[in-house]
Symmetry: C2
Subunit: 328 residues, 2 copies
């Protein structure tokens, strides 16, 4: 029920995913609104509806949303995962509330200091996992080390990268090595059970040769919004330019399929959503603008995360690191 | 003598600036290399050469560069400003060393906690002053307040904005208000003698409605490098796309002037360089790729900064704020 296009696009994407993936899909929300959108064949095969009468508002305070209990579609979805009736949860709704539900209903894995929001960037050399994207604005060095392990596990399990290379986001070497946080985190990442590629800088978020980039949630969120803004800025200018002369108009027309392809490649929908990593379940939050295509992508990512036991992999990796720490 | 294209492009830009601005220009560096590039008429009119036999290397440690004393062209340039023989200094050389020289040879203004690097972003609604861009990676809230005052003074004096609106860079409101630093700095900016427009987010660096955006040097540097990377990413993809079919090739050809115009608008050269604000003199460091056009822009900015008494304006504003603080 969350996001700008719910329930129509959410249901449409789910029905498409249900035809593609060997899994059961549970649509959680207002039965009266959802039922007319679902065909009988899908329901008979692998699509169910679970009723929840209320909806978490997009601007609702996360704490308030959680306090309302199980009456909302978001709360109910999380309860299904908590109770073992579902393996993964997706929503295009209120991301702050989604994070709160992930923390409170699913709870962090043992040994995880802070779960993180990860975003998947359409970098030049392939999808790049960037975390944290806003869940933890003030971080401790050890948290960044855990983010590195979680991001690496995600890249491997869901994106199929054999040995994900992990970079720690820092600044251009001409000025300094990094800030206090980064300087303290660097040796921790270097000794973690990951392929640590060293420090990277802002341009590497789009152009780099690593598979995972770790940063605190403040920097990650600024970067995410800036990258979205940069696309809007440049493509907006191109669109405007295309109306200024006949030549430009024809040129833009001829180039339009390519421009669309590039925008598509940069599209967040390609990867469906931002996983919350470090909790006892698979949970993805989508962009408010989520459409059917993005829902399919999110279902694909969730399907892989469950099949590859992403949660178990993270739990074991963290237990191992914490065990080694404790043994020192 | 600094940067990829020195001394050729630096001299060419300076000669052009010397014809445009009513000022004297002093080329500092290896006389043997510079002299052949300067025409007699310019020398007779308003271009001088001051010899300095050595050059600060692009990868030299700032401390090492300063320790070498006055033998380098960068050191000599700063001494000219320090001694009152010049009003402003520009270099396309080692930016870390440039900052160190600004701090040590020119020294911070009274009451300035930390000078800052400012960069001028080609935002959609006009040039945007973003600081700090990397001089101070770990900041105190009061420093951000001083950055706001300095950025505001720059926007007014050099870019001619009547009442610059200042935003404090933070993250999307759906997640939280900001980090500890931003939460502590917000009331300070709100009570500073500036037009505080509140918190802004990453996308506002390119699309926002403010004239100045304040952040710590770590976030500012990541953002700067990311924005450069985003341009490279998108325009690179467009260029590549333009070779994939005859239609795309023709379209790109027709659209090329517009694409060039957009890239030009986004070009750092439009604004020449990054001013170091808060020191006793006007100092601009250019990009390593600085060409003649960028030198002219830097000269224009320096010319305005001197004419509008940017340094005095900042000194008075800071004294006033610090006086008010002390009186409490």
């Amino acid at each position: 029920m969350g996001g700008d296009n719910a329930p129509r696009e959410i249901v449409a994407g789910t029905l498409q995913a249900a035809k593609t993936f060997d899994a059961r899909f549970i649509l959680v929300g207002d039965q009266k609104q959802i039922e007319p959108l679902v065909d009988a064949a899908s329901r008979a095969k692998n699509v169910d509806i679970v009723h929840a009468g209320e909806v978490v508002a997009m601007d609702e305070a996360p704490v308030a949303a959680v306090k309302r209990g199980g009456v909302t579609s978001m709360a109910k979805s999380f309860e299904l995962v908590r109770d073992g009736d579902a393996d993964a949860v997706f929503s295009a709704g209120n991301s702050g509330a989604f994070l709160a539900f992930s923390m409170i209903r699913l709870r962090p894995l043992a040994g995880i200091a802070r779960p993180a929001f990860a975003t998947i960037w359409p970098a030049r050399n392939g999808p790049m996992v960037v975390l944290d994207a806003g869940a933890n604005v003030d971080c401790k060095p050890e948290w960044l080390m855990q983010f590195a392990i979680m991001g690496s596990a995600y890249s491997h399990a869901v994106l199929g990268v054999e040995k994900p290379k992990v970079g720690l986001l820092s600044i251009g070497e001409e000025e300094s090595k990094g800030n206090e946080l980064i300087d303290a985190a660097t040796p921790l990442l270097a000794s973690a059970p990951i392929e640590f590629a060293g420090n990277v800088e802002g341009r590497d978020l789009l152009l780099g040769n690593v598979d995972v980039i770790v940063c605190d949630g403040f920097v990650g969120n600024v970067a995410l919004k800036l990258a979205e803004g940069a696309g809007e800025y440049i493509f907006g200018a191109l669109k405007e330019a295309a109306t200024t002369s006949l030549g430009a108009r024809i040129g833009a027309m001829l180039l339009r399929p390519k421009i669309r392809e590039i925008r598509g490649r940069m599209d967040y929908r390609e990867y469906g959503g931002a996983p919350v990593l470090g909790v006892r379940g698979v949970s993805f939050v989508g962009h408010g603008r989520t459409d059917a295509k993005a829902v399919v992508s999110a279902c694909r990512a969730a399907f892989r995360a469950v099949h590859e036991d992403l949660v178990g992999t993270i739990a074991r990796a963290i237990a191992k690191v914490n065990g080694a720490e404790a043994a020192r």
